[in-house]
């Protein structure tokens, strides 16, 4: 529509454009309202939007005190998450970026790390119990990382009652552990970083901190740099900003390449002439399959995911990437439809899944979100597919970028489900029907971890049981609960 751009309903692309011109505050407001109106939805777009926004936010901040920056990001994050709690990618990205900031600060300020994180003490479980998580399932404090705590205790001699100091161990630990932790795009192999081995011992160790002359273990001594003067700090702050921005840029790049990275491992998972079942129009899955298609011939059975995604699914099958993700972001993701690559694609209604499952060798799913315990949320119908697969002992492979991994532990799966527009099930026009009959249209399904055979992330494959570690590597304990008041 030529002249009509004024009236145009906003989307990710328009948002990103508006970022350049808008004031920060209104950009935040805008994104929040876009999320609320579901005008930006599905993990990838949310992730991109959030990252872009925070990039702006950080760029605009004048950083006096790094803690300010952290608080600022937290605050923005809180607002975004509140806008649409069920798009967890938003929260994930915010946490990742917070991680970047903390890391930068620590590597900058060395021991200041403790200082910078001290205010965030309350995030430790001891205090958290008194606070209400934003959406109550975000009982997110629960990541295994959190009890890799306390070792560094001896490094921050701090008076205080056992309680609150034991609390602060969490942060202290995390901070000091950080520098050892590789960049956020790190691979899972870094799982057990040395200081964590203290976890259980912390129970005993703490008092060392209070002992008169707690000389630290030698291997830690390098960190015993004396507290810098504030002037020093300020000097360093300058490049903190720069580094953080770089960090976010990295993150954005990761989001760009994530599908390609996942696709790289395609050939390790798909062999010749197998029959693969998939559903919805996930860009990740499509890339994955088409990569495999270059080398191997196989058959794809595609369930159409009625009533929410079928149109876009059809589009994907017919025309490949161009239109698939609706009017969303960059022109980058545009790929040929599988059929063009010589792959036979059989489109079936979701109902036929069970009937065909006995002839399928692999089910490939793309989640909406992956949860800390290895279970996942995916487009409605996924649980039926996964269950049918289990009944026929067909492996279920889940392709998920790390940005979809959420530290959230699913207490109440019901709360995670978004209910969509019943008008997609029964047209609104049918007055009698719609007024007398409850029509519901859940958008997501909860798929239990035990139904998933394998996760393939951009860091490689792993079993659902090991997911907790990858999650732990990417999120800081003190950030998992964004609603926690800091300082």
């Amino acid at each position: 529509m030529p002249a009509a751009t004024v009236g145009q309903t906003p989307s990710l692309s328009t948002f990103v454009k508006s970022l350049k011109t808008n004031s920060i505050e209104s950009s935040i407001e805008l994104l929040a309202s876009l999320l609320k109106r579901r005008q930006i939805k599905n993990s990838r777009q949310c992730a991109l939007a959030t990252a872009q926004l925070l990039l702006r936010v950080v760029a605009a901040e004048r950083i006096k005190d790094p803690q300010k920056l952290i608080d600022r990001i937290r605050d923005v994050g809180r607002r975004l998450v509140a806008a649409q709690p069920r798009e967890m990618a938003v929260g994930n990205i915010v946490r990742r970026i917070l991680g970047v900031v903390r890391e930068v600060i620590e590597s900058q300020a060395g021991d200041d790390g403790s200082g910078s994180s001290a205010p965030s003490t309350p995030t430790s479980p001891a205090h958290r119990q008194s606070k209400r998580p934003m959406i109550s399932h975000s009982f997110s404090s629960f990541t295994p990382l959190s009890h890799s705590a306390a070792m560094p205790y001896d490094m921050h001699p701090r008076p205080g009652t056992p309680m609150d100091s034991s609390a602060s161990t969490v942060d202290g630990m995390a901070d000091l552990a950080a520098p050892r932790r590789p960049g956020l795009a790190s691979s899972a192999s870094y799982a057990s970083t040395a200081p964590q081995n203290a976890s259980l011992l912390s129970f005993l160790e703490h008092p060392l901190g209070r002992s008169p002359a707690g000389t630290p273990p030698s291997r830690n001594s390098p960190r015993m740099t004396p507290v810098q003067s504030s002037t020093e700090l300020n000097k360093e702050k300058i490049d903190i900003k720069a580094e953080v921005i770089d960090g976010i840029k990295e993150l954005l790049d990761e989001l760009e390449v994530v599908d390609t990275q996942i696709a790289e491992s395609a050939l390790d998972h798909i062999h010749s002439n197998e029959t693969i079942l998939t559903t919805t129009s996930s860009q990740t899955v499509q890339k994955f399959l088409s990569t495999a298609a270059r080398k191997r011939k196989f058959t794809v059975i595609h369930a159409e995911a009625y009533p929410n995604d079928h149109e876009i699914t059809h589009a994907t099958i017919l025309n490949g990437g161009k239109k698939s993700s609706g009017e969303d972001e960059e022109a980058d993701e545009r790929w040929k439809p599988l059929t063009a690559l010589g792959i036979t694609v059989i489109l079936i209604p979701d109902t036929a899944v069970f009937a065909l499952m006995s002839r399928i060798n692999k089910v490939i799913l793309a989640p909406h979100t992956v949860l800390a315990n290895g279970s996942l949320l995916a487009a409605a119908g996924a649980s039926t597919i996964a269950l049918a697969a289990q009944a026929h002992h067909v492996p279920v492979v889940v392709l998920s970028g790390v940005y979809k991994l959420s530290p959230v532990y699913p207490f109440d799966t019901q709360e995670l489900i978004e209910y969509g527009d019943p008008g997609k099930v029964v047209p609104f026009e049918e007055g009698d029907f719609m007024s007398k009959i409850d029509v519901q249209n859940p958008l997501y399904d909860f798929v239990d971890a035990e139904l998933v055979s394998l996760y393939v992330t951009n860091l490689g494959g792993c079993a659902p049981s090991f997911l907790y570690r990858i999650v732990a590597d990417h999120y800081r304990v003190e950030d998992t609960d964004l609603s926690a008041k800091t300082g």
């Binding site: 159409e304 489109l347 979701d350 006995s358 009944a391 859940p442």
Partner: protein, 500 residues
């Protein structure tokens, strides 16, 4: 799984009278036509009956048309069989003509008429013209054994022996106007009744021998060509043949025919009508106060059951899960809604949410297989599976006439493939919306629309009719012989369908 003829084209009241009544009325009119025709054509008849179909196909083709038009018999005679030959040469033209004829024919069958033809149109023009060359590439190899010749929606090339009533029925079936195992069965028997009444044993042949072999079988063939016949129909036919053979040759023809019709009536009543009530009665006891009944698509028995329970004053909720492309559940929901029940209507994708609330699952059947598995509308298996996982009792309501001697492990060997075009249905708009409209909607939405899937190499659409539910998901089967575990289906089958 759907209703008996009357309710079949359910939503609107008028066709309730129509379908059966229509059948009769039309038959009446056509009877004369046919009588006349046969008189004049006797000689040809003899000749062709010897010849194979192909030869026969020409003249009868005319017969068929003529009957659909109900043009007076004399009109037929004007046209020469030869004259047809060239026409038959170019199928497309013929088919077009055919579809045109099919439509006025549908029109007469009541409200559904407006939508049925439209809904059908793709497959009507489709099979003969476009698909014919490409078909190989468009068939899913896995199911190649199921791709019979495309369903018949036109009457060209129909054997002239096919009785008008049967002819009419054939089209109603192929267009889902009459849909559902028992419904089709009943309709078929009714049609046969008329056919038999119009039957005259040719000189020198005994009714018992000739009727089945030379008269009934073409009818059956025709029905098969319209849509592969259901288990219940099979059973009924088997029973009928047995019956005919048993007729004492000495009995005078008319008497014998009346006898047959008499027995058919009885069969319908005993094996289906009464049975349904019996089943509904016992199944409705499974619905308690406060229970939440989950059902899938549409089954006449389940519907009866629910209404029965409601009539008893039981307070309960119903969850109807529905699926593309037939949206049968919508009919069910609507009719239950009018009965004033509290209903929740969910798309297939929401099963997992549906079973969370459900306390009992009621399913209808296309047929019960002898290894205790349930063959029913595609998707049923998934529902049963989800329910079984949550340990919710899954109950199948099924007349014994649907019990089958066959066994099947998966849904692939035994199944039926519906025209893929059905999947092109407009999804956001009411079924009544014409299919072509949907076409352009999609077209403007994206460069290639699903509607031109045939042009896209290596893209296939698969539209199965049934799937097979493993026995372990089924807690109970309710038939007129009472409630039984799936394992004892064969027992009842012997008793009911072979025992007599």
């Amino acid at each position: 799984m759907s209703t008996v003829a009357p309710e079949v084209t359910a939503p609107s009241a008028e066709d309730q009278k129509i379908s059966p009544a229509e059948l009769k009325k039309r038959a009446k009119a056509e009877k004369q036509a046919r009588r006349a025709a046969q008189k004049d054509q006797k000689p040809e008849d003899e000749a062709q009956s010897a010849e194979p179909q192909s030869a026969a196909a020409t003249a009868p083709g005319v017969n068929g048309e003529m009957k659909a038009h109900e043009t007076p018999a004399s009109a037929l005679q004007q046209q020469q069989p030869k004259a047809e030959k060239p026409q038959k040469a170019q199928p497309p033209k013929l088919s077009k003509q055919g579809s045109q004829e099919a439509e006025p024919h549908h029109k007469r069958t009541g409200s559904q008429a407006q939508q049925m033809p439209l809904r059908r149109r793709p497959s009507q023009t489709g099979p003969p013209t476009k698909v014919a060359p490409k078909k190989e590439s468009k068939q899913v190899e896995l199911f190649s054994h199921l791709y019979t010749q495309p369903r018949r929606h036109t009457i060209e090339g129909v054997s002239k022996d096919v009785h008008p009533a049967v002819l009419a029925l054939g089209f109603q079936i192929s267009s889902y106007e009459i849909c559902g195992s028992s419904a089709r069965c009943v309709a078929m028997l009714l049609a046969f009744e008329e056919a038999i009444q119009d039957y005259t044993t040719p000189a020198g042949a005994s009714l018992a021998r000739h009727l089945t072999a030379h008269y009934l079988s073409p009818q059956i063939e025709f029905l098969k060509s319209c849509r592969s016949i259901s288990e219940s129909m099979g059973n009924a036919i088997r029973w009928l043949k047995k019956l005919i053979v048993e007729i004492d040759p000495s009995t005078p023809e008319q008497e014998a025919k009346d006898e047959l019709c008499e027995r058919i009536e009885v069969f319908i009543r005993e094996r289906i009508t009464i049975t349904d009530q019996a089943i509904a009665a016992s199944a409705s006891n499974q619905i308690k106060n406060g229970s939440v009944v989950l059902t899938y698509a549409k089954s006449s028995i389940v519907e009866k059951t629910i209404l029965e329970a409601h009539a008893k004053g039981t307070k309960f909720r119903v969850i109807v899960v529905d699926s593309r492309p037939l949206f049968e559940g919508k009919q069910l929901a609507t009719s239950l809604m009018h009965a004033g029940l509290e209903i929740e209507y969910l798309p297939f994708s929401a099963i997992s949410h549906a079973v969370k609330q459900a306390t009992v699952v009621l399913l209808g059947a296309h047929s019960m297989l002898s290894n205790g598995r349930l063959q029913s509308r595609i998707g049923t298996a998934s529902v049963a599976m989800q329910a079984a996982k949550r340990d919710i009792p899954v109950i199948v309501c099924c007349e014994s006439v649907k019990f089958s001697g066959k066994v099947a492990l998966d849904s692939i060997v035994l199944n039926e493939i519906a025209p893929a075009e059905e999947l092109l249905l407009p999804t956001r708009s009411t079924p009544s919306k014409p299919a072509p409209k949907d076409g352009d909607e999609e077209a403007e939405a994206k460069p290639k629309a699903l509607s031109d899937w045939k042009e896209i190499p290596r893209l296939q659409l698969l539209n199965l009719m049934y799937d097979v539910t493993p026995a372990e998901y089924i807690r109970m089967v309710i038939c007129e012989y009472g409630s039984l575990p799936p394992s004892s289906v064969p027992v009842v089958h012997r008793l009911a369908n072979e025992g007599m």
